[in-house]
């Protein structure tokens, strides 16, 4: 048992947890942030993806203790105030989800993808980079459409700001 502190969605948090606690368990059970999902126990589905120090990782494949001292962003931390994040908005507008179980991980993976590739993101890249995120409902088509829509909006916005 140790006291684990980290920054989650901009706030300093801490909690007592066993060393074997997974980051996803710490987020869901100790911090009550249940937006991050667990869809498998083999590190394959990506429902649990969060950002650790700016990079997408599977929070079911990391101990909370490994993340101590890091900055974590979860799906709950994406929207600014009342406004959805552009990737969330794109999923909403392009019907990028059905049951929604995979969606938090999809959106965290997508924001990471858009950050790395910007407006140059193309369909083939999106499809290969979704390798680590499994969806049992949509057939991926509208997920890909949503991510491309978000990339062009965010890339466009970036250019406008430059």
């Amino acid at each position: 048992m140790a006291n684990i502190s980290m920054t989650v969605n901009g706030s300093e948090v801490s909690g007592d947890a066993e060393d074997r606690t997974l980051l996803v368990e710490f987020l869901r059970n100790d911090l009550g942030l249940t937006g991050t999902h667990v869809g498998c126990d083999t590190s394959q589905c990506g429902a649990c993806v969060v950002h650790v120090d700016g990079e997408a990782v599977k929070s079911c494949t990391m101990l909370a203790a490994q993340a101590a001292g890091s900055e974590i962003t979860t799906i709950e931390g994406l929207a600014g105030g009342g406004d959805l994040h552009p990737v969330q908005k794109a999923f909403h507008e392009n019907h990028g989800l059905q049951c929604g179980f995979c969606t938090p991980g999809m959106i965290m993976a997508a924001t990471d993808m858009v950050r790395r590739h910007g407006a140059s993101l193309d369909e083939a890249t999106v499809r290969t980079e979704l390798e680590g995120n499994i969806c049992r409902c949509t057939g991926y088509h509208n997920i890909v459409k949503s991510i491309l829509a978000a990339a062009s909006e965010m890339g466009g916005a970036q250019q406008a700001a430059e």
């Binding site: 060393d19 126990d41 590190s43 394959q44 494949t61 203790a65 490994q66 101590a68 993976a109 980079e129």
Partner: protein
């Protein structure tokens, strides 16, 4: 997962002494193999010693044609390294096809070779590049490092610090990924350098990674895909499981080797 004690090391020396002090300790790098294994209760170390915060274990440097990659360097960092891309694009390409983006952000080259999964990608490159594995106590040539399925020459608690190799003139890696796991069903790394051609094969051999010496001989005479026509892969030496029979894998090895020779640059 069974109970364990977590330790964070800030230097290789500290990690070495934490391992020495542990009952049944395990080094933890990216955790992309160890954590899933612990979750399945196939591993139950009393202690885990986290190497991820040791700055000395990370980074890539290229001096002339000698490439050094720290053991703690992630697959994503190798894939995105402009230096690796310029001297050995085949290795950057290999790293960019390991698992998925999230796995690549955490998983490390040191963890991959220490684990020596028979379907892992890096071991094929290490044997084909004649790489040297540096540890906290010695240097081991790749040919002696990989000793069997999930087996290496490492002693208990020995820590890989880096791998080094000379950049080849030409190289390429081709893998046929298992459609579900993305691990190699057969992966072939072909490298052509001063010492001739070497061919490392992963995913297929029943003793794990190996060098295909008859293919090497054929390619040393004539570096072209057609030179491989006269070679054969014996199914008796191949893995056979629900994903593919030994005969299927034997065929895949040859197909991947042909593609790798054609793609070598």
């Amino acid at each position: 997962m069974y109970k364990t004690n977590y330790h964070r090391a800030s230097s290789v020396e500290e990690a070495t002494s934490l391992m020495a002090g542990a009952d049944d300790g395990k080094l933890l790098a990216g955790g992309q193999t160890l954590i899933p294994t612990m979750k399945q209760r196939l591993a139950a170390p009393s202690d885990v010693v986290d190497l991820r915060h040791i700055a000395d274990l990370k980074g890539i440097s290229v001096a002339g044609n000698q490439v050094t990659i720290g053991a703690g360097t992630t697959h994503a960092d190798v894939a995105n390294s402009a230096e690796v891309r310029s001297v050995c694009p085949a290795l950057a390409d290999l790293a960019s096809h390991i698992g998925d983006p999230h796995v690549r952000n955490m998983g490390t080259i040191g963890g991959s070779i220490a684990n020596n999964d028979p379907a892992a990608d890096y071991p094929a490159a290490m044997v084909a590049l004649n790489a040297t594995v540096h540890t906290n106590s010695r240097q081991i040539g790749a040919a002696d490092f990989f000793t069997g399925l999930f087996e290496t020459a490492l002693n208990d608690g020995e820590i890989i610090t880096a791998v080094t190799f000379d950049a080849p003139e030409k190289a390429a890696y081709q893998k046929f990924p298992n459609p579900a796991s993305r691990y190699a069903m057969a992966g072939v790394f072909v490298a052509k350098g001063g010492g001739g051609v070497s061919v490392g094969v992963t995913g297929a051999g029943s003793d794990g990674v190996y060098r295909a010496s008859d293919m090497e001989a054929a390619l040393n005479t004539n570096f072209s895909s057609d030179a491989l026509d006269g070679t054969s892969v014996d199914p008796a030496d191949m893995l056979s499981d629900l994903h593919g029979s030994a005969e299927y894998r034997a065929n895949l090895v040859k197909v991947m080797a042909r593609r790798a020779v054609a793609a070598a640059s």
